[in-house]
């Protein structure tokens, strides 16, 4: 009798406590903050300038791009808004939709509980986040591809391809000389990247040996020491490049999942100066003291 009486209450209590946990994984967008209706103004590109303050010419509408040079990624490439990925990777944003939940293992879910992102469906106040990038740590790989991916300058030599990223002014190297990842490799923020051409226009990069302290994305998806990142660069023509990113981490995810699916980059002129863009903890503190904490604070009495 006692048990029968207390059962409904227990169920209510259990549901109450479990709903937020479930919502963080398989959640209804109904409870997420109302989205801001954001977009670029229609003519925004007309006033665009490079880091030197010089206007950037727009491509002529309808002009067909010539074919790409073979086995060549070099150039200054801009992914536009698609590379920002504030909610998490473009192909797997943390927006509460079930189809956007990566296939976590039990260990992956445990690790997820430890991350407190400042954006996405599980967002907390930026000042309360334990995002390593907010603290000043490097983004590392694969987050360099999956958050604030802005202009990338790609340089190519006979033995390597170098990528120089606008955000944080960091660079990485992808070796193409046939070497192997060193045995007992010390984990690195950007790991160890090896690349090869699978045809004249498609370059595939495999990165392993990644530091477990980094997050996969801005939504705080974790990774283990078993993470393998596969990037596919596909040169569509002279002026366009595509990038896809696959996450393969059998310890934290039951199967590989696509984080970025054919993000298109446009080729900038060779004279394009890439402006500086950093995450500056001191400026973040100033911003929070001035506005951020006030905006999130208690109601005006």
């Amino acid at each position: 009798m006692m048990l029968r009486r207390s059962l409904p209450l227990t169920v209510v209590l259990a549901v109450t406590l479990l709903v937020p946990l479930a919502r963080s994984q398989d959640s209804s967008p109904a409870n997420s903050p109302a989205p801001l209706n954001e977009r670029r103004p229609p003519n925004w590109l007309e006033n665009r300038r490079d880091g030197w303050g010089r206007p950037v010419k727009l491509p002529v509408k309808g002009e067909k791009s010539p074919p790409a040079p073979k086995r060549d990624l070099s150039g200054i490439w801009d992914p536009g808004d698609g590379g920002i990925q504030a909610l998490g990777p473009a192909a797997m944003p943390d927006d509460g939709r079930p189809e956007h939940n990566p296939p976590f293992t039990a260990a992956g879910l445990e690790a997820l509980k430890e991350t407190k992102p400042s954006n996405g469906f599980r967002s907390t106040l930026a000042t309360e986040s334990n995002d390593p990038v907010i603290a000043g740590d490097p983004q590392g790989m694969p987050r360099e591809d999956l958050f604030e991916l802005r202009t990338v300058n790609i340089l190519q030599t006979p033995v390597a391809i170098y990528l120089m990223y606008q955000f944080g002014r960091v660079w990485r190297v992808i070796w193409t000389d046939g070497r192997e990842v060193p045995k007992d490799a010390e984990p690195r923020w950007f790991g160890y990247s090896l690349g090869k051409w699978v045809d004249d226009y498609t370059f595939v990069v495999e990165t392993t040996g990644l530091d477990e302290r980094t997050w996969i994305d801005h939504a705080g998806r974790p990774h283990s020491d078993k993470l393998r990142v596969e990037e596919t660069f596909h040169r569509l023509d002279r002026d366009h490049l595509e990038l896809s990113v696959l996450i393969d981490d059998p310890k934290f995810y039951t199967k590989p999942w696509i984080a970025l699916n054919k993000l298109v980059f446009n080729l900038e002129p060779q004279t394009f100066d890439v402006r500086e863009m950093f995450w500056e903890p001191s400026e973040f503190q100033t911003y929070n003291k001035l506005l951020g904490n006030e905006a999130a604070g208690e109601d005006e009495k």
């Binding site: 709903v19 937020p20 997420s32 801001l36 106040l125 402006r275 863009m277 995450w279 999130a296």
Partner: protein
Amino acid sequence: MKGKVLIGLTLGIALSVLSLPLVAHHGNAAYDPTKQINLKGTVTQFIWANPHCVVLFDVAGENGQVVHWMAETENPTTMTNMGWLKSSLKPGDPISIRVITVKNGKPIGRIVYVETASGQRLPGRIVPTDDSGKSAESYK
């Protein structure tokens, strides 16, 4: 009696746990995206910095009282792509500005657009809900 206490406890836990997402990241959650207002004021400072640029400006309120407003935009890289410069605004500039406001009632906004005295419109990334000039609320 014990039952009422338990029900009260359950409801209390439910309310506190379910309300957590409502105080989420101030980037979105702090603002009411449905309400855009127009303001006219004078720039006191323009901070060109990460993570978001901020315009500080004074607005003459009721009874001649000056209200010190703040409005944020995006980071300098994004703003540069949208036609802004560090020199776009300076102290003393008269501006007309359209913002969405924070839910807590403080004079803080996120920029829809700014119009300078010369008539230049500097866009933010919020889509204007009403460009006819007949806004939901208007300040002098």
